[in-house]
């Protein structure tokens, strides 16, 4: 190799190393920043009061920073969304992977993946205009901005992830399992739920976890349609406020350096921990499949 070639090679190699390490450094910096700002809050308030406090009144005097209603709000909306999107999503994945003809399969798969590309603000807007009035009318509520509305719209957002990854897991099940089941006299349905479902279970589980991760981190749509009342919810038909919506709604008005400001970062830490754990579990299962 000539000299210019060697120099070129050297610089390109270094450039790639820099790009690679930068992306990792940024993530670490963001994490450090989040931890520093969030943990500052606990200099002034106890962790116990924060996590188990039942009131979130950041602007009253004295201010109350109990995050429990927000956690329960997030949990309730997420559970609702899962109750809708898991059965529909997994059934849809089986339909696409096992039942539909190849031509239709391509159309459906592309369609589902397109669904993932809809910006969440658009989903929130559509929900606000169509779903919210419908929920209000059906359940005779004073307002349609409820956890239920949020759950339904979020289910739409989790579905593409669940369907797409679960479908890959089902398609990856070796054909010989299905052949063996059919040759023993199993019907197509028996082969699906007794063999293919079992073999694809880790992948389907990972798909569900990634779907949950998407739902719990979602902000815009839930802010628009869940009503944003920071009270402990008792049913799906009440307004709730999620962790994400709280940060997005209050960050603008919190004075930098105030307790309120640090409290929002502490909420961010909680969110980070939740999504980290969920993605971590999903990852474990995805790796299990690769083996």
């Amino acid at each position: 190799m000539n000299k210019i070639g060697k120099v070129k090679e050297f610089f390109i190699e270094k450039l790639i190393v820099i790009c690679g390490s930068l992306s990792i450094i940024f993530v670490i910096l963001i994490f450090i920043f989040l931890a520093r700002e969030g943990l500052t809050f606990f200099k002034y308030e106890s962790i116990k009061d924060f996590i188990f406090g039942r009131n979130w009144y950041p602007l009253s005097n004295p201010a109350r920073f109990g995050v429990l209603p927000l956690i329960l709000g997030s949990v309730m909306v997420t559970l609702g969304a899962m109750a809708i999107s898991i059965p529909l999503g997994v059934a849809c994945a089986f339909y696409i992977a096992e039942i539909v003809n190849p031509k239709m399969k391509d159309i459906l798969k592309t369609g589902i993946e397109l669904l993932a590309a809809i910006p969440s603000v658009v989903i929130g807007f559509v929900g606000m205009v169509t779903l919210v009035p419908m929920v209000k009318k059906i359940f005779h509520l004073p307002t349609g901005l409820t956890a239920l509305s949020g759950s339904i719209m979020l289910a739409f957002m989790a579905m593409p992830t669940i369907v797409s990854i679960a479908e890959d897991a089902i398609t990856a099940v070796p054909k010989r399992y299905k052949e063996a089941a059919l040759a023993l006299g199993a019907t197509h349905w028996q082969a699906i739920y007794k063999v293919i479902l079992v073999a694809a279970a880790p992948g389907i589980f990972a798909a569900i976890m990634l779907g949950i991760g998407r739902v719990i981190g979602e902000t815009m749509a839930v802010m628009m349609i869940t009503g944003n009342a920071a009270v402990i919810p008792h049913t799906l038909l009440e307004p709730v406020r999620t962790l994400t919506a709280t940060i997005a709604a209050e960050m603008g008005e919190a004075i930098r350096g105030s307790n309120h400001y640090y409290a929002l970062y502490a909420v961010g830490i909680i969110l980070f921990i939740i999504t980290f754990v969920i993605n971590f579990i999903a990852d474990i299962f995805l790796h299990r499949i690769k083996k």
Binding site: Y177, E179, A181, L182, L184, G185
Partner: protein, 250 residues
Amino acid sequence: MNDIIVENLNLWYDKFHALENVSMKINDKKITAIIGPSGCGKSTLLRVFNRMNDLIETVRMEGKIIIDDENILSPETDLVALRKKVGMVFQRPNPFPLSVYKNITFGLEIHGINSEDSFDNIVENSLKSVLLWDDLKDKLKKSALELSLEQQQRLCIARLVAVKPEILLMDEPCSALDPVSTARIEELMIELKKNYSIVIVTHNMQQAARVSDFTAFMYLGELIEYNDTNNIFTRPEKKQTEDYLTGRYG
């Protein structure tokens, strides 16, 4: 009587004529080997007997195959009942990714069999019939995928035995196994012949000569010669058969 009577069987994959006018009678409680070069239609013929070719969308069949006085090619055939009666062992061992125990009870569950025998007894007897019981009696909860290939193939046979079939189809059952395992599976086949009619497709002519009572030679979708195994290997009537057996093509 569990003879299989094949009458003027023709089969097409789309436009490709894969089986041409095949007629034969496969005898009860005997081992019948189907041999021939790759692509001659031997696996296709085997897969007609339990209608596994139905999984391929472009397949079209004409003619008759009679098992237990019923034409299994008729559209009214109950495929579930047919496949319970005519079990199949595949080229690559394909146990389910379940425990050894569940692999055997799978067939019982899907057919809703409530015999007086408990599942435990059926599992034990099925494993005994394939000589796996002593090796596996303490490992019934273990995943079947952790077994050796030979054990997996035996388990696949045990899984069939549990639903009490009449005919066993074997599609090159030893091609994934080493010579020692192959010899042991062959012994097992001869043992199983007492209770079942066995049809085996094989690439391996020595295997056909060793285990089978009757041998069918196929070439390009046609049944060239079908006779007593001894006659086929010592006094083949057709020149094509002789050329294949002496290794001139294939």
